[in-house]
Subunit: 154 residues, 2 copies
């Protein structure tokens, strides 16, 4: 699709790829570990897909959630398929911590005023998360390979 | 779960119910038609569920999306399972229009400054959506009954 960012570009650091979908590190500086599952063809909505492809997309997305919880241990995982800016189906899988800058708001909310001491604590926790991301990515590519084999032919 | 709002209350106007999940009208004044799929037991994350229940939850959520598109005709549908405020699994299914107050931002973003004439146009379009909601709800309960029969035993 002309002018579609996710048709033209990978959209992040490629972690895993199949004919149906790719899994990318969103390289989010505030929310390290944030991962996206991006369809490898241009459709806008989940219901533009057949049921088998819907299930494969969700299987990949929930595989990301599972491994993210096991390796990074966030307090909450946020899942979202919005596509208002780029109407090319992609799932956000976002690790959230109770001390992160937006919690308990969505990461798309205006940044609340920081409480005293919060920025330092947030920086320390963010650095710990950043340190865990390589292990997350290794476990994730292994898990996607296992989980999606035979399920992601597209 | 004590103190969980979605354990204590329906959370909106009940449209459909099964042992596994309920579908409610969120009664959102800005985004009429917004629907939630709420698990009928207390779990925080999709990956706290077994695969059959995960598939049933997504089948219901995508049934809402399908009927919402067919009856309300939004420009985009937003799907999200956040749970930062109420960590009881629930999916938001939100109809979005290019002229709605937040587009193309997420509805959780700060409200952008309105452009001249936008509030009137938004009100007219919102009223048209409100007029279509009863038909959406009738079609949705029919579709859920068809789609979930035998799949939502929980």
């Amino acid at each position: 699709m002309p002018d579609c960012l996710l048709c033209a570009e990978t959209g992040g650091a490629l972690l895993w790829n199949s004919p149906l979908l790719r899994v990318i590190d969103a390289c989010d500086p505030v929310y390290p570990g944030t991962t996206r599952v991006v369809l490898n063809r241009h459709v806008a909505e989940m219901t533009d897909l057949g049921e088998a492809d819907q299930q494969s997309v969700m299987r990949a997305t929930l595989c990301v959630e599972r491994v993210m919880r096991d390796t990074l241990g966030p307090d909450k995982v946020n899942l979202a398929a919005l596509g208002n800016m780029v109407a090319h189906l992609h799932w956000h899988v976002i690790p959230r911590w109770k001390d992160d800058p937006h919690f308990p708001q969505a990461i798309w909310a205006a940044l609340p005023e920081a409480t005293p001491g919060a920025p330092q604590a947030q920086r320390a926790r963010r650095n710990a998360t950043i340190a865990g991301v390589p292990r997350f990515h290794r476990a994730l590519t292994d898990a996607l390979e296992r989980t999606m084999s035979g399920a992601a032919a597209g």
